[in-house]
């Protein structure tokens, strides 16, 4: 059962049950829709930029626990960060969930997102964990059309 607990860590279950920034952002100047055709999940990410800085960010939609918690924790992680900083966090995050790194995640760099390290043992779930991130970056890059994980 340890693998199960590693994937579904308490913080992930908590963000699934009580997603943060789970709302429409009325002042959003960027938004994009992300879609995971594998499971039919769909989320919308709203972003308000202040110059180069993510001033506010929120999301809406339906999905599995991993995708919902990932979206929720992503909004917490990138709020107040510059676009370059947000991209750097995603690069680290993506490396952590896809490359089965030998080393444990750098908690200092990743913060709470380190909870997703267990995803690398479940390749079928990588798309769930990264959907929100792809959608966020598409929104900021002004690609409002549907982002797909396929």
């Amino acid at each position: 059962m340890s693998e199960l607990r590693e994937l579904y860590q308490e913080i992930i279950l908590d963000h699934n049950r009580h997603p943060r920034n789970f709302r429409v952002l009325n002042d959003a100047d960027h938004r994009a829709v992300g879609h995971n055709p594998l499971c039919g999940d769909q989320i919308t990410v709203y972003v308000e930029m202040d110059g180069d800085v993510v001033k506010d960010v929120s999301f809406q939609g339906a999905g599995c626990a991993i995708s919902k918690a990932s979206a929720s924790m992503m909004t917490d992680a990138v709020k107040g960060k510059t676009l370059a900083e947000a991209e750097a966090i995603f690069r680290e995050f993506h490396h952590m969930v896809t490359d089965r790194p030998d080393a444990l995640p750098d908690v200092e760099k990743m913060g709470k997102l380190a909870a997703f390290a267990g995803v690398c043992e479940f390749p079928a779930r990588v798309k769930c964990a990264s959907l929100a991130w792809h959608t966020l970056l598409a929104a900021i890059a002004n690609k409002p059309g549907a982002v797909s994980t396929e």
């Binding site: 699934n16 499971c39 999940d41 626990a65 779930r125």
Partner: protein, 413 residues
């Protein structure tokens, strides 16, 4: 039970020994394979047939004068006889080898569709169809100007025959319907549907992907015009499937693909096409796959379709009962007549999470839209979890599923 009819009972515990893939551990637990609607495991008889073909008889078929080519050709054509018996088809030549159900439907939609579809003509499908029995018709309608009409289902997942009948008219060219729904398990009354369709002069194509290998398929009794199924969902190899069609229809149809084997004579000015079925089998086919499928069908017929049907029906009844005890679980598709497929949702968890947690218990189930997005939309769902049975599954497999779903509730409680 009529006097003189012997119903054989199958012993799943004994049969399991024939399936090497079942004897393994997943994450430290015995594999419980409940994804049979996606593909079944293969008995040793099929693996041996593939091995033996490639080890001793491997050659290209037709036209070869050497011994191996003759052996390969004989083995390949013999399976057509096995298939004729399996489907109770009137004629061997009505059996066309294809890659699977998807290719069979594409063949009919492109070839027969080019003869009968056009402005003012209609194709009727149902809300419970798999994408493979939707998209080829959608594309054919776009190409020809025909109209695609969709017969509704009830919330329980039963086809509304009254609505289907009301939809039929002299405009209807063809009715395309699943024998059994891959997402709901519903078995459709094909005999009734063909009677209604034929009454207005329409043809009927049956997607048999979830029925063949699980029940007796008798194309003469069903009275349909085309029947398609995939070998790999009936214990056979992947990449091989069957289209059965009525001889007079097949003979009227233009080729679907062009190349070697499907021709009689070729010059740069003009090609004449071969007879049915060769006309529809361009290029070197999946010879080994055909031979493996033949072995699968022999294996199935040795056990007997009625014994398989009874066994899988027992598993569905047992599972339906046991799943009532899982808090927050709802079965999606509660038609009175079902194959061994149970779709469900749980209040506490998304199907994807159910699938991952079940896998950690060694239980393989499928999650998602099951290539039936319009059906999911009709039911107001994004996805379901689905357990599906084969002849080697046991009540203990169902118990393992129920235990795994208990874990799901524990994690998300």
């Amino acid at each position: 039970m009529a006097a003189g009819v012997v119903t054989r009972v199958l012993d799943p515990y004994a049969l399991r020994g024939d399936f090497p893939a079942l004897a393994q551990q997943i994450r430290g637990r015995p594999l419980v394979y409940l994804d049979n609607a996606a593909t079944t495991q293969k008995p040793r008889a099929v693996l041996d047939a593939l091995m033996s073909f490639y080890s001793t008889d491997n050659a290209n078929i037709h036209r070869g004068v050497h011994t191996l080519s003759q052996r390969a050709t004989d083995a390949y054509e013999d399976v057509r006889c096995t298939l004729r018996r399996f489907l109770n088809a009137p004629d061997n030549r009505e059996i066309i080898y294809v890659r699977g159900t998807t290719e069979a439907v594409n063949l009919v939609a492109a070839s027969y569709g080019s003869l009968v579809l056009g402005p003012g003509r209609e194709v009727v499908i149902t809300e419970m169809e798999h994408h493979a029995n939707i998209v080829p018709w959608q594309a054919a309608c776009e190409r020809t100007g025909a109209v695609l009409r969709v017969a509704p289902i009830t919330d329980d997942g039963v086809l509304r025959l009254d609505a289907l009948e009301a939809m039929l008219s002299e405009r209807t060219a063809i009715v395309c319907v699943a024998h059994a729904s891959n997402a709901l398990g519903t078995v459709n009354p094909i005999g009734e549907i063909t009677r209604m369709a034929h009454a207005v002069g329409a043809r009927v194509l049956v997607d048999g992907a979830q029925a063949a290998g699980h029940m007796k398929v008798d194309v003469q009794q069903l009275d349909c015009d085309f029947y398609a199924f995939s070998g790999h969902k009936a214990l056979g190899p992947t990449g091989i499937g069957v289209l059965w069609g009525r001889m007079d229809l097949l003979e009227s149809m233009p080729p679907y693909q062009f190349g070697g084997d499907m021709i009689r004579t070729v010059s740069f000015e003009k090609t004449t096409y071969n007879d049915v079925p060769a006309r529809f089998e361009a290029g070197t086919p999946h010879i080994a796959g055909v031979i493996g499928l033949g072995a699968a069908l022999e294996y199935l017929s040795h056990i007997g379709p009625s014994a398989i049907l009874t066994h899988e029906a027992d598993l569905v009844t047992y599972a339906t009962e046991r799943l009532q005890d899982v808090p927050g679980l709802r079965i999606v598709g509660t038609a009175p007549d079902k194959v061994g497929i149970i779709s469900f949702t749980m209040e506490a968890a998304h199907p994807h999470d159910i699938g991952t947690i079940a896998d950690l218990q060694g239980v393989a189930i499928r999650t998602g839209h099951h290539c039936a997005m319009p059906l999911m939309h009709r039911l107001g769902l994004a996805a379901t979890a689905r357990a599906s049975f084969a002849l080697y599954n046991t009540r203990e497999d169902v118990d393992a599923l129920v235990r795994a779903l208990g874990h799901v509730n524990n994690v998300f409680a």
